[in-house]
Symmetry: C2
Subunit: 327 residues, 2 copies
């Protein structure tokens, strides 16, 4: 599967799945809409794999558990939903310490409390590596899909981008540093303890035309938002909100990092990318500000090509995070 890569494999899998009759929505959105269970029920699943999504040299069990819950809550946020219940599946190597398992459970519970998801069940198995899979059921009064953006819509993002990728660089370059400046600690927290933008997603429910969470980098997820439509976009590079904490970061050789590149192609910020009618942008920004976040217009949807500044989105997209890529 490595030769094909994640995106094409997902397309291949999706082509095998017969179209769902109403009232279900899925696959292909952040979460599925379970029309047969209730008009507003949502279901998402996400898995974290040791040495792919995290390393135990720099992530604690509690970090892993928190994140496994948070990334699913983020999928629910991207539907303008609220998490309600979660189940977890743990694959544990025989040598795993009990304290590691305790930490994972506590991290899941902490994140579940933060966003309203009760841990209602799960499954354990032995296996060669630590894998934490969480599935979350949520609810939304009016689920916002990925699809639906059209010409004239304004693209906006919550918060700032690139911080989680900066945190990963920091952890890899200086795993054992214990005298880090606050900005670098915040970058690490962006990676290790991500926030799901539940409140922002709810604030956007009335006006969002299309929405996705930015888990694989702005370039990849902007592509995902527009895929399946005939529309293009122009993003103003100067408008993209870059995490200000990245200014402090140096690479392994001591040079400043390319913060803008991290903002475009770094994954795991779990901010929301939303398309809005132009006349709704001010209202939406005020609503998001009321829950403590900025909402920044970064570009527009139109009938032309897909560009970030003078670069083709698809060229940048290939630099984003992709599972299964042969390296």
């Amino acid at each position: 599967v490595a030769a094909l890569g994640e995106r094409l494999l997902i397309e291949r899998i999706r082509a095998r799945i017969p179209p769902l009759g109403a009232p279900e929505v899925g696959p292909g959105d952040d979460a599925a809409v379970l029309g047969s269970i209730g008009p507003h029920a949502l279901l998402a699943v996400d898995m974290l794999v040791e040495d792919v999504d995290f390393e135990l040299t720099w992530a604690s069990g509690a970090d892993v558990g928190w994140k496994a819950m948070a990334v699913n809550a983020s999928d629910i946020a991207a539907m303008s939903g609220t998490p309600r219940c979660a189940v977890a599946s743990l694959c544990l190597p025989a040598a795993a310490e009990l304290e590691l398992v305790d930490g994972i459970v506590d991290g899941m519970l902490d994140a579940g409390r933060r966003w309203g998801a009760a841990l209602v069940g799960g499954d354990l198995s032995g296996g060669p590596t630590l894998i934490v899979t969480v599935a979350v059921v949520g609810e939304s009064a009016a689920p916002v899909l990925r699809s639906g953006a059209g010409p004239g819509d304004v693209l906006c993002v919550t918060g700032a981008l690139g911080g989680a990728a900066g945190g990963l660089l920091s952890l890899r370059n200086r795993p054992h540093a214990d005298d880090l400046p606050p900005a670098e600690l915040r970058l690490r927290a962006r990676l290790l303890r991500p926030s799901a933008r539940i409140e922002a997603g709810l604030a956007l429910a009335e006006v969002a035309v299309a929405m996705i969470d930015i888990s694989d980098g702005l370039a990849v997820d902007l592509g995902n938002l527009l895929d399946g439509s005939e529309w293009g976009c122009t993003v103003d590079p100067a408008a993209v909100p870059v995490d200000p904490d990245l200014a402090i970061l140096r690479d392994a050789r001591g040079a400043p990092v390319d913060a803008f590149a991290l903002a475009l192609t770094g994954g795991e910020d779990f901010e929301l990318l939303v398309a809005l009618h132009a006349e709704d942008v001010d209202t939406a920004a005020a609503a998001v500000r009321a829950v403590g976040l900025d909402l920044t217009p970064i570009g527009t949807v139109h009938s032309g090509g897909r560009m970030i500044g003078d670069k083709d989105l698809d060229d940048i997209r290939r630099l984003g995070w992709e599972h299964l890529r042969a390296t």
Copy 2:
């Protein structure tokens, strides 16, 4: 974690999870009841790990996909529920063949169609070994819990036991045999293509006092049914329905296998173990027969110890399947 073992680790994890307020039920049952989503919504999750739950030398991708869906549907069956929707999480080694992935997806879709679960989404990751995790959302008009059996109740099982364990022996002893008698092929199918007893679970909904699916062997799951209560049981060994196809099976040295031991401690038959008031047994058996299965009384619940014949249940229980056991 290997020193503690699966059962004690589950107890340890459960102790960390604060009691759920109504309307949720979970963890600790076959599936959780998601009261906040709807009075009848159920959620289950189960994972299959390569070389723990299956080997690709004897299971095809379609077998693995079918089983990943079926074991979750079985959890829904044990709540007297009907599957509705499912999401799947695939962890794929880079060297995995595309045809393997196609087979897994097709197997999940086939089993989903059989029991009414639409595949509505999923997640892909790279990793060191093949792992398929499925979460199923279902519905039940009146969910039957594991707990609730009391003195005087009659314990009954659907179908016959031990066949899946026999199928595993057959596959391990003669992986490449191509001239197998029909009985041995049926044993293999019990393991590779298990049935979820959805129709039987629904037929029992009105009268079942407590119910569980037999995934880890009769001894283990009978213990699970009674754990948390103060009650004991007596099971009549002669009454336990042993899969008749086991009569044909020989072990690696050509000796007949101990079919009764497989029926008690072999896992993965996915039959239902149900407690009924004595006066409801005939009605229940007729209802289950109407959907094509036998329902066999095997013992009673009482205030004494837990015995299968003259043996202590807990002694036999230790021989049942347990993930994470140090071997």
